[in-house]
Symmetry: C2
Subunit: 340 residues, 2 copies
DNA sequence: CGAAATATGATGTACGTTCGTCAAAACAGC
DNA sequence: GCTGTTTTGACGAACGTACATCATATTTCG
């Protein structure tokens, strides 16, 4: 009582194996009448192609290249680890994944890495995009050579890439504001915002979403201009400390980038720390949640993103559709009590 | 440049294909020296067994049985749908899933359904457990016959089942309290709690966790005794309305069970509605979040639970290890802004 | 009607693994 | 060194699909 095979389909449709194969893979012209008979048989038998056998016979070999920012950014390191991990698992499906790390925030490096890619030897590329004309151009050229490109975490204009794997950062910013706004209560004042760099689309979008909600729903709270800490802890600490010193009415802190060790260091020097929301769940932020130094963490799950990116690339290389829902990455909220 | 195959391993190890096979599948006795040579070769070549080919050759056919409570419970219906959905996807891997719904909370029905299972024709069972001696016994007997058993949503003592797929409800309750406590601000008063039935283990646990956090971190907030609404909307509306009329200092509402349409109906009649937290994301709760009638939803993702249960069963049937992390189900928090 | 064009069938090999059978080799004990 | 046991090798058939080649059947059109 196993599943139906193409043999069964052929038998039921009253045609040969070859014809079923032709219909199934759109190989040569098949007369409409014959095609219908085959398709009817497939429906009647509830035929599903055995993907395992198909890939085995195809002897497909995929090589995907992941371009990730290097440096200390914990999230990116987790993402790198997850991609490697998942690569192992997908190895069974003859998928080979190479991860290359590049200097962070370095558009030139990204651009030249993209240009060095030989379109013939790579079946797909995933990158954390830095949106500059040079990078756009390199991506365009890759795609022109038939290499699918997926953006990870930080996006490019949608016409440039096949797919984006990551969260909607405007909504992430909105979520942060909804949380922080409620956590702050009725007290009026300023919110200090620490960002990485405005060159990154995702950081700009988070700030935008944050302000949207703040001005609409919590007009007594005003976000200060984002501090550009370049994902560096020391810079973040310095800038935030300065700001905290300058303003005596800061009632909340939102850090939308990395370098959070600096943010917490600055908070630690305060007598009473205001409600604080950060991004990304690391061993540090987990500890800060548990110790009550911060109140909430917003994250995108690196494991999901890795999986989603690889699956998307595989699906695209197979010319198949893929479940959007399953591959969607959500905006997760963590408090002390729902840590994974 | 493809991946190494058993042929490569055999060549490098200087043994025959058969011997590699014997080592790989622990078939017959292989002398330790030979086994080592083979294992060294596998390591050297970074050999990974082609699971697709293996399953193809094995002609494995898995049949998993899911026993879920029937009835109106939206969450269970979503879970049922997801299991079916995922079953389709796994069909490619020759996994066949049958879902059987039983009268909800009916230990007798569950027990007899379990006893009717023919261990020979089923490779694994997942069930939403009702913990009674009869059910325990039926589960024990199934496992004794070599059928892996996974509990779903509601657990059994851990020595009885192979694995539990679901959330920790104490922590779910704690999460609710952490959110609601912060949302309520400094105002002192009571929190109204609506439950399904205190006889249900998971509801009791949520209430427990809720109170833990409330008394520890928000002592100015006091949870009223849980209203037993029996997951019925009308009952919930009546009980909650009564309570709201009796107490003029209710500053927050926590509904930890089903029947939330009634809860919201009661809130709707108030002039100013207090912060409200519910469980499970449905089309309704989603609407209430967007319209601002409620403030947060806590959920366990039915899609993840379905996937996780199936994956766990597949992995166990293959005698393979599985990624605990990947299969873990988290306690998710949704606000208006991070809805999926 | 017959030739050319088109559609279909028949057949075989391959993918990487499993599993069975049988023969050959290596080893043990005496 | 012979026998008996254990270990290994050689081979082949399957699993369900892909793909190529060649032969034959069917249609189309002048």
């Amino acid at each position: 009582m196993g599943r139906a095979t193409i043999h069964d389909v052929a038998r039921v449709a009253g045609v040969s194996l070859s014809t079923v194969d032709r219909v199934l893979n759109g190989r040569e012209t098949v007369r409409p009448g014959t095609r219908d008979r085959v398709e009817d048989a497939m429906r009647a038998l509830n035929y599903v192609r055995n993907a395992a056998a198909a890939n085995l016979a195809r002897k497909r070999d995929f090589r995907f290249l992941f371009l990730l920012p290097g440096g200390q950014n914990t999230f990116m390191r987790m993402l790198e680890a997850e991609v490697g991990d998942y690569g192992q698992q997908f190895a069974a499906d003859s998928v080979d994944i190479e991860v290359r790390t590049l200097p962070p925030f370095d558009a030139e490096a990204l651009q030249s890495a993209l240009k060095q890619i030989d379109p013939g030897s790579v079946s797909g590329v995933a990158l954390v995009a830095v949106d500059t004309p040079g990078v756009r151009d390199a991506v365009r050229s890759l795609r022109a050579h038939g290499v699918p490109v997926v953006t990870l975490v930080s996006d490019l204009p949608s016409e440039l890439r096949e797919h984006f794997v990551g969260i909607n950062n405007i909504w992430a910013g909105r979520t942060a504001a909804s949380l922080l706004g409620r956590f702050c209560g009725r007290a009026a004042g300023h919110i200090a915002v620490v960002a990485g760099s405005t060159v990154l689309q995702d950081h700009a979008e988070r700030y935008l979403g944050f302000q949207q909600v703040l001005s609409a729903d919590f007009p007594h709270l005003v976000a200060l201009p984002a501090l550009e800490a370049l994902d560096d802890a020391e810079t973040a600490e310095r800038l935030l400390s300065e700001t905290l010193a300058q303003h005596d009415d800061i009632v909340g802190i939102y850090s939308l980038g990395a370098g959070n060790r600096g943010v917490v260091a600055a908070i630690d020097r305060l007598e009473r720390s205001p409600p604080t929301v950060l991004h990304e769940l690391t061993e540090y932020s987990r500890g800060w949640l548990l110790s009550g130094k911060i109140d909430a963490v917003i994250r995108q799950d690196p494991a999901r993103e890795a999986r989603s990116a690889i699956r998307t690339l595989v699906a695209m290389s197979n010319g198949k559709s893929f479940h959007r829902d399953e591959n969607r990455v959500g905006i997760e909220i963590f408090l002390r009590d729902n840590l994974p």
